[in-house]
């Protein structure tokens, strides 16, 4: 896709988004003053969107350059999908176990090497990193992180070493 095509689509999307949001401001209840500020922002956004459309009109602008594909999009989408699944299931699995699983699955899915030593390294780093997070957040900071039962382990560790 050419640069100006992307900018044209972006401009149209931003203009449409601003219009929808401007319509939404009609339903704000309360003091009239609370409408001014979001509306001012939306108007700026809309003007910028229209400007993008005008300046990237195919009739005026014939840029032959292409967006460089300097990114491996497959890997990107894979990691976004894996991250999404990790974030969604983390609360149910517990953050620490979820981290370990994410590390192993994510690490194996994104590494190009099939060597045993590399895979073992991913596994070891996963365990060490999960333990580091457990120590930092659960034991030291006592942060209320969903941990799926590991509070009991942290209590034992705290009783053994910190008291």
């Amino acid at each position: 896709m050419k640069n100006y095509h992307v900018n044209l689509i972006l401009g149209c999307a931003i203009t449409a988004f601003s219009l929808v949001m401007l319509y939404e401001t009609i339903f704000f209840s309360g003091d009239a003053a609370i409408k001014y500020y979001p509306r001012a922002n939306l108007v700026i956004l809309m003007i910028c969107g229209i400007w993008l459309v005008i300046t990237n009109n195919p009739l005026l602008y014939r840029d032959k350059s292409l967006y460089k594909k300097d990114y491996r999009l497959k890997s990107i989408f894979l990691i976004i999908l894996l991250s999404g699944m990790f974030f969604y299931t983390a609360e149910k699995l517990g953050f620490y176990i979820g981290t370990l699983l994410f590390f192993i699955i994510g690490g194996l899915a994104t590494t190009r090497s099939r060597r045993f030593s590399i895979n073992l390294r991913i596994f070891i780093v996963g365990i060490v990193f999960s333990f580091f997070l457990f120590l930092s957040f659960q034991i030291v900071m006592k942060a209320p992180i969903p941990s799926n039962g590991s509070e009991k382990i942290s209590d034992i560790i705290r009783q053994l070493f910190l008291h």
Binding site: E24, I34, P38, L42, I44, F102, T110, M141
Partner: protein, 503 residues
Amino acid sequence: MCRIYETICIALHNASDPFVFLIVIVGMSIGIIFGALPGLTSVMGLILVLPFTLDMEMYEGLILLGSVYAGATYGGSVSAILIRTPGAPANIATMFDGYPMAQKGESRQALTISVICSAVGGMFGVFTLIFLAPQLAKLALKFGPAEVFWVMIFSMTVIVSLASGNIIKGLIAGAFGLLLGTVGLGHEAVIQPRFTFGTSYFVRGIDVVCALIGYFAFSQGIALFGRTLETELPIEKIKRGLFWQMLKTVFTKYKWNTLRSAVIGTIIGIIPGAGGNVASMISYNEARRFSGKAEAFGKGEWGGVIASETANNATEGGALVPLLTLGIPGSPTAAVFLGGLIVHGVWPGPVLFSHHLDSVYTLFIGLILTQIAMLLLGHFGARYFALALKIPRNLLGLMIIVLCLFGAYSVSNSMEGILIMFCTGILGFFGERLGIPPAPVVIGLILSKRTEAAFIQSLLIGEARGSLLHYFLSSTICIILIGMTILSLSYVIYAELKSAKGK
């Protein structure tokens, strides 16, 4: 006067806590690693340590952030010198002469000069902060809602300057950030959540820190998986010694270069929107101009590394002046510092100096300690920090993503925070591919609520007094701020037009 002495005593007592020393060393090490690794940024380093500050005192948290930032700025020079890949834009000028020095077998000299000048520049910036910040804070005490509103408007010009190269897309990013700040229940005049479309999501608004994590860390974590270029990174062998010799050289032969670069760096740091990269480039050019041997620059001239490293570290202290006194986050890094204050329920400005003066002075002392730690760690540990360049990118990416999850949850204490982080991260990643920079979005989001609050307050006071226009333009401070806003905008437009003509 008595109060100041008492405060300094408390600050010295706080800073002498061994935990503060530990924070400085850990923060500095993390910073150097983040700075040295191309693809990781100082902002990302700051964001990822931010959740760890929740359990700390405010000054401890800020010292941790300060040491990570200082470490990252220096760390960027390690990769610039050793592998010709600057860790951050602020280290580009270091690369011009640092890498040729390494090629000539002077990598140790280059790294030693870099760490000495980083510490000197950093120290200069911190002392400027110490002397300037309290004075500016006194002035800020005179600010009413109208003045605060104009300060916020002036801060927004930062958004435009951060988007140099494509003002329209920068404005889109800024306006989008400001709009994000209006989501949910913001100002007390808002009785019904805005832009939530009847759902229970985001009723409390978009959490600034979660959005910071998403935009600056999660999006960059994802990006690490997409790089097609995976090069084998060569590490030059570093020789021991030379520290005192280099120190003497910096303070004798290159004393004017060092001083000039420190002054340039600090002044540019104070100006919102400019940053370490601008400071180092200007200092580099000035050093070349004044050296009398311009042709030697770019071929391993020590003066080039001295100018660049002194200036980019001097910006750190300078950038904290408008942030701590007026609440202007002049750079993405300053925005994260602001996040560090927000998680402790404090907004910078006069209140910070009147209610938390001991914390502010402890921060100042901590920042001085940071520069000393940088000198020691940078000198003795450069060889070991350079090993970080060998960490596989995918493992690094996974660690960052996991830290984002923990960070967002710790800050917001809810899965909604994670949702915000995830969405803003994806928006940030794809936005950047489309040329929409993330920094203006985040700065817009940070400034939004305060701007709207000041606007509504000014509106109500102005209406009560019978003249809105008169209230907004009544004081001298307002007029000065309006003038500064116009000047700042005009300069950005002028620079943009000039660069467009050049193309």
